[in-house]
């Protein structure tokens, strides 16, 4: 039977934990906010770039850009975007599981991995997969130069013929409560991917200014542009940028999803702590009451004895 003091200690310890989880929840909420803003801020660029690509594509007859070269998929590179830290529910475990599924599903191919995020790296390294590179401590605050660096490495490996295809696996940010695991092919670039609309509703309440509607309407009617440089040259220079923005977007999504996952995990942890404290307090009071009752009985029966 735990004593009163034991209960007091337990309750205090749970309270401390609750304070930590609550603080983490608020931190995650603030970071989520920032990450979401970044996702929104990155959209106009992606949208305009697609528009230019589309228009340039119509002018280019032959797609023989090295980033579009299709080869039989012998050697495949996978970018795994996880978090750098834990305490975010099943976020990291899910990405890693998805990555494993992907890898196991391709037994006859040579596979290379580049984890982004410490958690993914540690897990994959333990499983003895070959890591061709790693980027850690970049997912909490995603900046464009980092995306550019990752993209540059991937592009270099691809154009050198070291890899035949590049995929990314990451958590797409659907809403605060929902992350969707996504496997996407980054390279070779499919010309059809420009025809798809720019990344739209990832979380609904984006600032959809006047620019959005007008540029969407414009995309319908092809304009006959004057090209300062040849369309092919512009197209060729845009493609690496396109890969960069794809990586950047995935990183932003993953980062936002991570903060969202952490926020929800910490929220439920805080709630659980509240529940636990309630239960412990109830037990403690019962024990206290039982002790008092016992003492009264002892006093009363002792008095009866002497009387």
């Amino acid at each position: 039977m735990p004593t009163l003091l034991d209960f007091r200690r337990r309750i205090r310890s749970v309270k401390n934990t609750q304070q930590i989880t609550r603080a983490m929840k608020f931190v995650a909420a603030a970071r989520l906010r920032r990450a979401q803003d970044k996702v929104f801020a990155a959209r106009p660029y992606a949208r305009h770039m697609l528009a230019v690509l589309r228009s340039a594509m119509a002018r280019v007859e032959a797609f023989d850009h090295p980033l579009m070269a299709r080869r039989p998929e012998q050697r495949v590179l996978l970018l795994v975007m996880s978090g750098d830290r834990g305490l975010c529910g099943a976020f990291n475990a899910n990405v890693i599981r998805k990555a494993m599924e992907f890898l196991r599903g391709r037994p006859e191919q040579t596979l290379g991995l580049i984890p982004l995020g410490k958690k993914g790296r540690d897990a994959l390294r333990k499983q003895k997969w070959s890591l061709v590179g790693e980027y850690i401590n970049i997912m909490a605050r995603v900046e464009y130069p980092q995306a550019r660096e990752v993209a540059a490495q991937v592009i270099a490996r691809y154009t050198a013929g070291e890899m035949d295809a590049v995929y990314m696996v990451y958590n797409e940010f659907k809403s605060v409560l929902v992350q969707r695991l996504t496997v996407e092919r980054l390279l070779p670039i499919e010309p059809e991917s420009f025809l798809a609309e720019a990344p739209q509703a990832t979380s609904g309440e984006g600032p959809s200014g006047p620019a959005e509607t007008s540029s969407a309407g414009r995309a319908e009617s092809p304009v006959d542009y004057i090209y300062e440089q040849t369309a092919a040259a512009i197209f060729g220079h845009l493609l690496p940028r396109f890969v960069e923005t794809q990586v950047f977007r995935a990183m932003l999504e993953s980062s936002a999803a991570e903060h969202a996952a952490r926020m929800t995990a910490m929220d439920s942890a805080t709630n659980n702590a509240v529940e636990l404290i309630d239960q412990l307090t109830l037990h403690m009071n019962k024990v206290r009451q039982a002790a008092i009752t016992r003492e009264i009985i002892e006093v009363v029966s002792g008095a009866a004895w002497t009387a």
Binding site: K38, P44, Y45, H48, A51, A211, Y227, E228
Partner: protein, 149 residues
């Protein structure tokens, strides 16, 4: 009928820098500066490293653009820049320090280990930053004229 204004949008991967109605835009095209007035023919160009300026009424604003692309339509100009900064955002002290660093590096040209292209590019960047910052009016007096590299 020609449109009276140009809708200027400058976007970088990280943010939307400018979204305004303007009367005139100058772009640092890869093959030279381009002046755009409302009603310009549709055009797509690559951009170099340089100064972007736009006029709103009688006021002229400056920004710096680091490579990218521009799409021009009769009533709008969309600039996709890898990086862009408004004149008033430029950190002049940092740009000065960068210029000195790059100049020092380029001065010791015998030393084989310096990355020539990188240093030249850094110097270019610093110079254009200082130039644009000066035009931005913030500290015009402090920035002395500097010979081109």
């Amino acid at each position: 009928m020609l449109p009276e204004f140009l809708q200027l949008e400058v976007v970088t991967p990280e943010r939307q820098l400018i979204a305004e109605s303007v009367n005139e835009v100058q772009l640092p095209g890869l093959d030279g500066y381009l002046g755009i007035l409302p009603g310009h023919a549709a055009l797509i160009t690559e951009l170099g490293l340089g100064e972007l300026s736009y006029r709103k009424g009688k006021e002229t604003f400056y920004a710096i653009v680091f490579h990218g692309f521009a799409e021009v339509l009769p009533d709008r100009v969309i600039v996709l820049a890898e990086r862009a900064e408004r004149a008033e955002e430029i950190d002049i002290n940092r740009a000065r320090a960068a210029r000195e660093r790059a100049e020092k590096r380029l001065a010791q040209r015998e030393a084989a280990e310096i990355d020539w292209d990188r240093a030249t590019f850094a110097l270019q960047r610093a110079l254009i930053r200082l130039q644009v910052a000066a035009k931005g009016g913030a500290v015009a007096a402090q920035v002395e004229q500097h010979p081109a590299p």
